[in-house]
Amino acid sequence: MPLDAPNTGHVVYDPRGIVEATAIPLGKRVADLNGLRLGILSNKKWNGNNLLRKTRAILEDEIDFAAVNFYEKESFSKNADPGLLGEIIADNDIVLTAIGD
Protein backbone atom coordinates (compact mmCIF):
# COMPACT_ATOMS: atom_id res chain seq x y z
CA MET A 1 0.00 0.00 0.00
CA PRO A 2 1.34 3.43 -0.86
CA LEU A 3 2.05 5.52 2.25
CA ASP A 4 3.13 9.08 2.80
CA ALA A 5 6.68 9.29 1.50
CA PRO A 6 8.56 12.32 2.74
CA ASN A 7 12.31 12.43 2.26
CA THR A 8 14.05 9.48 0.64
CA GLY A 9 12.45 6.87 2.84
CA HIS A 10 12.63 3.07 2.72
CA VAL A 11 11.27 0.95 -0.07
CA VAL A 12 8.85 -1.64 1.26
CA TYR A 13 7.36 -4.61 -0.55
CA ASP A 14 4.08 -6.47 -0.77
CA PRO A 15 4.88 -10.20 -0.83
CA ARG A 16 1.42 -11.45 -1.86
CA GLY A 17 1.34 -11.29 -5.64
CA ILE A 18 -1.84 -10.34 -7.47
CA VAL A 19 -4.79 -12.60 -8.14
CA GLU A 20 -5.81 -12.65 -11.77
CA ALA A 21 -9.10 -14.12 -12.83
CA THR A 22 -10.94 -14.39 -16.10
CA ALA A 23 -14.60 -13.64 -15.48
CA ILE A 24 -16.87 -16.61 -16.23
CA PRO A 25 -20.64 -16.14 -16.22
CA LEU A 26 -22.85 -18.38 -14.13
CA GLY A 27 -24.66 -21.12 -16.03
CA LYS A 28 -28.32 -20.81 -16.98
CA ARG A 29 -30.86 -21.24 -14.21
CA VAL A 30 -33.90 -23.47 -14.64
CA ALA A 31 -37.52 -22.34 -14.50
CA ASP A 32 -39.02 -25.54 -13.10
CA LEU A 33 -37.39 -28.45 -11.27
CA ASN A 34 -40.05 -31.04 -12.23
CA GLY A 35 -39.03 -33.31 -15.06
CA LEU A 36 -35.32 -32.54 -14.72
CA ARG A 37 -32.46 -35.03 -14.29
CA LEU A 38 -30.63 -34.48 -11.00
CA GLY A 39 -26.99 -35.50 -10.69
CA ILE A 40 -25.59 -35.97 -7.19
CA LEU A 41 -21.82 -35.86 -6.83
CA SER A 42 -20.38 -37.07 -3.55
CA ASN A 43 -16.83 -36.35 -2.38
CA LYS A 44 -16.93 -39.44 -0.11
CA LYS A 45 -16.25 -37.42 3.05
CA TRP A 46 -17.48 -38.80 6.34
CA ASN A 47 -21.26 -38.32 6.49
CA GLY A 48 -21.25 -36.64 3.08
CA ASN A 49 -23.09 -39.48 1.38
CA ASN A 50 -25.61 -39.60 4.19
CA LEU A 51 -26.25 -35.87 3.87
CA LEU A 52 -26.73 -36.12 0.11
CA ARG A 53 -29.07 -39.12 0.45
CA LYS A 54 -31.24 -37.31 2.95
CA THR A 55 -31.26 -34.10 0.90
CA ARG A 56 -32.29 -36.12 -2.11
CA ALA A 57 -35.12 -37.72 -0.16
CA ILE A 58 -36.46 -34.32 0.95
CA LEU A 59 -36.27 -32.97 -2.61
CA GLU A 60 -37.96 -36.04 -4.07
CA ASP A 61 -40.89 -35.54 -1.70
CA GLU A 62 -41.69 -32.30 -3.49
CA ILE A 63 -40.16 -32.59 -6.94
CA ASP A 64 -40.83 -35.11 -9.68
CA PHE A 65 -37.36 -35.60 -11.14
CA ALA A 66 -37.07 -37.45 -14.46
CA ALA A 67 -34.00 -39.20 -13.08
CA VAL A 68 -31.61 -39.03 -10.13
CA ASN A 69 -28.04 -40.17 -10.85
CA PHE A 70 -25.40 -40.69 -8.16
CA TYR A 71 -21.64 -40.25 -8.66
CA GLU A 72 -18.57 -40.38 -6.44
CA LYS A 73 -15.30 -38.50 -6.83
CA GLU A 74 -12.07 -40.40 -6.52
CA SER A 75 -11.07 -38.27 -3.56
CA PHE A 76 -12.75 -35.62 -1.45
CA SER A 77 -9.82 -33.31 -1.77
CA LYS A 78 -9.19 -33.39 -5.51
CA ASN A 79 -11.10 -32.07 -8.51
CA ALA A 80 -13.36 -34.62 -10.15
CA ASP A 81 -11.94 -36.52 -13.08
CA PRO A 82 -12.78 -34.74 -16.38
CA GLY A 83 -14.35 -37.93 -17.67
CA LEU A 84 -16.65 -38.06 -14.68
CA LEU A 85 -17.63 -34.42 -15.14
CA GLY A 86 -18.35 -35.11 -18.79
CA GLU A 87 -20.62 -37.97 -17.81
CA ILE A 88 -22.45 -35.79 -15.29
CA ILE A 89 -22.92 -33.03 -17.84
CA ALA A 90 -24.22 -35.44 -20.47
CA ASP A 91 -26.73 -37.18 -18.22
CA ASN A 92 -28.07 -34.43 -15.95
CA ASP A 93 -29.70 -31.01 -16.01
CA ILE A 94 -28.88 -29.83 -12.49
CA VAL A 95 -26.33 -30.99 -9.94
CA LEU A 96 -26.06 -31.29 -6.17
CA THR A 97 -22.63 -31.76 -4.66
CA ALA A 98 -20.97 -31.63 -1.23
CA ILE A 99 -17.51 -30.40 -0.45
CA GLY A 100 -16.33 -28.49 2.51
CA ASP A 101 -16.53 -29.93 5.97
Binding site: G27, L33, N47, I89, V95, L96, G100, D101
Partner: protein, 74 residues
Protein backbone atom coordinates in the same frame (compact mmCIF):
# COMPACT_ATOMS: atom_id res chain seq x y z
CA UNK B 1 -15.60 -25.25 -6.31
CA UNK B 2 -13.57 -26.23 -9.33
CA UNK B 3 -16.08 -28.96 -10.14
CA UNK B 4 -19.01 -26.57 -9.71
CA UNK B 5 -17.40 -23.96 -11.98
CA UNK B 6 -16.82 -26.62 -14.62
CA UNK B 7 -20.42 -27.80 -14.40
CA UNK B 8 -21.87 -24.29 -14.39
CA UNK B 9 -19.70 -23.48 -17.38
CA UNK B 10 -21.68 -26.13 -19.25
CA UNK B 11 -25.01 -24.72 -18.08
CA UNK B 12 -25.61 -27.31 -15.36
CA UNK B 13 -26.88 -25.24 -12.43
CA UNK B 14 -25.00 -26.58 -9.43
CA UNK B 15 -25.77 -26.43 -5.72
CA UNK B 16 -22.56 -27.01 -3.72
CA UNK B 17 -22.94 -27.75 -0.03
CA UNK B 18 -20.31 -26.34 2.31
CA UNK B 19 -20.36 -25.91 6.05
CA UNK B 20 -20.16 -22.45 7.64
CA UNK B 21 -16.53 -23.04 8.57
CA UNK B 22 -15.55 -23.41 4.92
CA UNK B 23 -17.70 -20.68 3.40
CA UNK B 24 -14.88 -18.14 3.19
CA UNK B 25 -12.66 -20.62 1.38
CA UNK B 26 -15.45 -21.39 -1.08
CA UNK B 27 -15.89 -17.67 -1.79
CA UNK B 28 -12.16 -17.12 -2.29
CA UNK B 29 -12.08 -20.08 -4.68
CA UNK B 30 -15.02 -19.00 -6.79
CA UNK B 31 -13.60 -15.47 -7.03
CA UNK B 32 -10.16 -16.75 -8.04
CA UNK B 33 -11.78 -18.98 -10.64
CA UNK B 34 -13.74 -16.03 -12.01
CA UNK B 35 -17.29 -17.09 -11.16
CA UNK B 36 -18.12 -14.47 -8.54
CA UNK B 37 -21.88 -15.05 -8.82
CA UNK B 38 -21.70 -18.71 -7.78
CA UNK B 39 -23.42 -19.05 -4.41
CA UNK B 40 -22.94 -22.18 -2.32
CA UNK B 41 -25.44 -23.96 -0.08
CA UNK B 42 -24.32 -23.25 3.47
CA UNK B 43 -25.11 -25.58 6.36
CA UNK B 44 -24.09 -25.31 9.99
CA UNK B 45 -20.65 -26.74 10.83
CA UNK B 46 -19.71 -29.51 11.58
CA UNK B 47 -20.93 -32.46 9.56
CA UNK B 48 -18.56 -35.33 10.20
CA UNK B 49 -19.43 -35.75 13.88
CA UNK B 50 -23.21 -35.52 13.61
CA UNK B 51 -25.77 -38.19 14.45
CA UNK B 52 -28.13 -39.51 11.82
CA UNK B 53 -30.94 -37.29 13.12
CA UNK B 54 -28.76 -34.20 13.10
CA UNK B 55 -27.73 -34.92 9.51
CA UNK B 56 -31.43 -34.94 8.70
CA UNK B 57 -31.69 -31.37 9.96
CA UNK B 58 -28.73 -30.33 7.83
CA UNK B 59 -30.35 -31.97 4.82
CA UNK B 60 -33.45 -29.86 5.36
CA UNK B 61 -31.25 -26.73 5.43
CA UNK B 62 -29.55 -27.86 2.24
CA UNK B 63 -32.67 -28.80 0.28
CA UNK B 64 -34.29 -25.39 0.70
CA UNK B 65 -31.21 -23.51 -0.45
CA UNK B 66 -30.48 -25.90 -3.33
CA UNK B 67 -33.89 -25.27 -4.88
CA UNK B 68 -33.34 -21.51 -4.77
CA UNK B 69 -29.90 -21.80 -6.34
CA UNK B 70 -31.13 -23.94 -9.21
CA UNK B 71 -34.07 -21.62 -9.84
CA UNK B 72 -31.99 -18.45 -9.57
CA UNK B 73 -33.74 -17.24 -6.44
CA UNK B 74 -30.76 -17.41 -4.05
Amino acid sequence: MHDAVSLEGQDRATAIIVTTEFLHEAEVQRDALGMAELEPVVITHPLSTLSDEEIGHRAAEAAEQAKKIWLGKA
